[in-house]
Symmetry: C3
Subunit: 360 residues, 3 copies
Amino acid sequence: MTVAELAALAGGRVVGDAQVLIGRVASLEGAEAGAISFVEEGKFLEGARASRASCLLVPEGTGESMVAAGEFAATLIEVARPKLAFALIAEVLHAPLRRAGAIHPTAVVAESARVEEDVFIGAGVCVGERVRIGRGTQVLAGAVVEDGVEVGAACVLHPNVVLYGGVRLGSGVVLHAGVVVGADGFGYVRDAAGYHKFPQVGTVVIEDDVEIGANSCVDRGALGETRIGRGTKLDNLVHVGHNVEIGERVVIAAQTGISGSTVIESDAVIGGQVGMGDHARVQAGAIVGSKAGILPGKIVRAGAVVWGVPVRPLDEYKRLNAHFGRLPQMRAELDELKRQVRELTARLAETPDAGEPGEK
Amino acid sequence: MTVAELAALAGGRVVGDAQVLIGRVASLEGAEAGAISFVEEGKFLEGARASRASCLLVPEGTGESMVAAGEFAATLIEVARPKLAFALIAEVLHAPLRRAGAIHPTAVVAESARVEEDVFIGAGVCVGERVRIGRGTQVLAGAVVEDGVEVGAACVLHPNVVLYGGVRLGSGVVLHAGVVVGADGFGYVRDAAGYHKFPQVGTVVIEDDVEIGANSCVDRGALGETRIGRGTKLDNLVHVGHNVEIGERVVIAAQTGISGSTVIESDAVIGGQVGMGDHARVQAGAIVGSKAGILPGKIVRAGAVVWGVPVRPLDEYKRLNAHFGRLPQMRAELDELKRQVRELTARLAETPDAGEPGEK
Amino acid sequence: MTVAELAALAGGRVVGDAQVLIGRVASLEGAEAGAISFVEEGKFLEGARASRASCLLVPEGTGESMVAAGEFAATLIEVARPKLAFALIAEVLHAPLRRAGAIHPTAVVAESARVEEDVFIGAGVCVGERVRIGRGTQVLAGAVVEDGVEVGAACVLHPNVVLYGGVRLGSGVVLHAGVVVGADGFGYVRDAAGYHKFPQVGTVVIEDDVEIGANSCVDRGALGETRIGRGTKLDNLVHVGHNVEIGERVVIAAQTGISGSTVIESDAVIGGQVGMGDHARVQAGAIVGSKAGILPGKIVRAGAVVWGVPVRPLDEYKRLNAHFGRLPQMRAELDELKRQVRELTARLAETPDAGEPGEK
């Protein structure tokens, strides 16, 4: 595509030769001729000038001065948000591979399954009874789709994904390799003999445009459903317990675990290796720092930024950590004070008119 | 089944129409006609009265008064432990799907494998040489059972489970999708050139009625065996290192990791995201809080309740955390004391008969 | 093999009958006739004397005295490092199973794939277009090797491993079951509508002799590459984010997570459940304790030993933890001091010549 076309796509303004052809995205350092890259505010000039990219996305109002400051081989496109424009352009230049509709001869698809047009079903895939798969969806090698599952349009199930019976996926859902959706939740009732399984007969609903990282697990609801809202993104090795409810546009980094019945409202941002107890609630737009621990039943207020185990507001967390780091100094000051008070007490005892000394 | 039959099953007493037919379990809110639900002590009346369940399990001695307090559409069953009764009834009403014995034509089963009656082997399953699979076991699509593995009766290996060569499973074992049993433990010996693998030639034994959550990993013993005792339950994404020994009826929540040669005795309860160093021991019935860290070689005493990194008794953990949260106040008090002592020292210096002032 | 042969292999000296035949390695307690075991300095005599092993590796200079101290059934081999010798001997006695070259009839191998001699491709394996697989490599059942992947010689891909398109493995690489290499990194750009994927169009390079534990995930680079250096070993359930660069001979224990663009230099040792923020750097030979948390951008100096969240030098970590544990005592001392100062103040106020009391 030409720089002019990309500029139109990104809503930007061209500074330089608009007819240069661009074939792919690249980092500033990794770019070669034919690549487009981007520079973010603050730290750009050095890297940008050294880059061999043919086109650079730059912040609005910076293009002319960059060119003025010295010879610039690359054509520039000024946009409000270069990184966002870069992502949008990449979606076009590097559209994910969509294999043509086909069912591989080694796949096993139940007769009662309803597979729409343009669906690709790879080698060794297993599709159960009464499954429905929407148009354009790609089910890659080794994935297992159990009975009664519904998958929307334009989804990608990467290799070896497993969907347990009856779970439902919207459209545009991407599940990376090894993701398991709908395994039994972890609930037992104990008696003298040991543990009896609490019924795990609910389901999972994953809404449109959700993406889930490799080897993550989303358990089915015990009685109701586990739900992940539209546009939410989960990283690798995340655990989502039974009956968890995650809102829209939530981001959850790798290895975080969410216990049963906890709610994460829309637009929350959750770091990696966070642990959430059951029946907790993270309200809309809250930010939970990596490695944080949220106790069962805890409510994190809308928009709050919390860190630590257990979580505290970030300001308080930082302040407490600073105090923690100065404990040895505090200890030393306390010892010095004790010495001074001992001395004062002794001196006061020697003062004739100072009355009776107190108990030490 | 009729309410009368369910009451007999649960050892309960019917209050109301014992001939009502019940087909499934449900939550109080999610229940429709034909469903049974349960109420636990304390918080029941509101939800119970609003529920559309046809039958409710209630604590002993509460049925009559509940009915007396107002019209009650549902039949009640009084039982000692409603949640336990609910679980037992669910085991009957929602017995897990047991597919009839069959070997899918796309499965690859070695000639030397000994597969008993009523075993289901799904699409694309691979069963190695000299494997033995007990009666009624279900090996679902994509599972891989390597040479020499022994699987007992009535097990369920969910899709894409992998059993490395020679591991042994008892009866009634449930492994969720993506579980890996018997991969090499993580042990190396370093020399100048780098790391040499310490031999990982032991095995894994998983006793009867163990359930392991999706994508969890149980490594084989280096020289001896890794063992998980009867009735123990592991959640998703748990890591069990080489030569770990887990007793009976242990519960381990998601994402916990157990290093090599550590022992967890029977009836322990382990939270999520706990980390245990090697050669540690959690004695019988101990409770380890989520996110706790147990140092190598540490012994957690029988019945203890421990939290934190490193673990401490829960009481102490809470007390220390409270002190931690008040560090800024402690700092302020210390500063105020220093001020007062300075002042006292100064005043004492002005007192004619108070002798020599000490060093500041 | 004879003890003499094993001694030659390990560079050791035989004390006793050098013609005894040895067939396998074992622990001291688990050994039977025909097995070799080892004893490390310090704690050996009890276990060694009780062992039924036919041969024992012992530290240099200890053999004769051990024999002199009492009857010893086993032949001894004195070596500088018994455990290392044991590992080297195990590599010979228990060479990993290498199946003869063969492509299972249920495997699906693209015509354009170039598979060298002696490669084993198991049941249900899927090998994509233009894949190259080096001599002697074993691709076990259910593994998926997507288009354009390069795998070196003598690798082992255990069952259900997934290699996304274009990733490259050196020789001697071992990936345990369920490992996913090359899934998309976790990067998004937000606008009003939600999250757009930042392009994840880089690749992964895994150098020679790397071993990766079950169900671990290594994401592809966003624009460049994610790289794991020669001889590095990863445990189970480890997460390696996009563009991470790991040096040679690094060891990373289970469930550790490494965020995007972080660098771990050669010979570092990383504990389990460690979390690393993005763009951090662990310099050569540093040791990071289990459960540690490394903030984004943080540099851990070469050779440092760090623990805690956030990481601190181990000495400081221990000292602070000790202070933390004594907070209640500090609190009590502070209260006692306050009492004493109050008393001193009161007494001084009663002293006729002590001037004006300060404010309390």
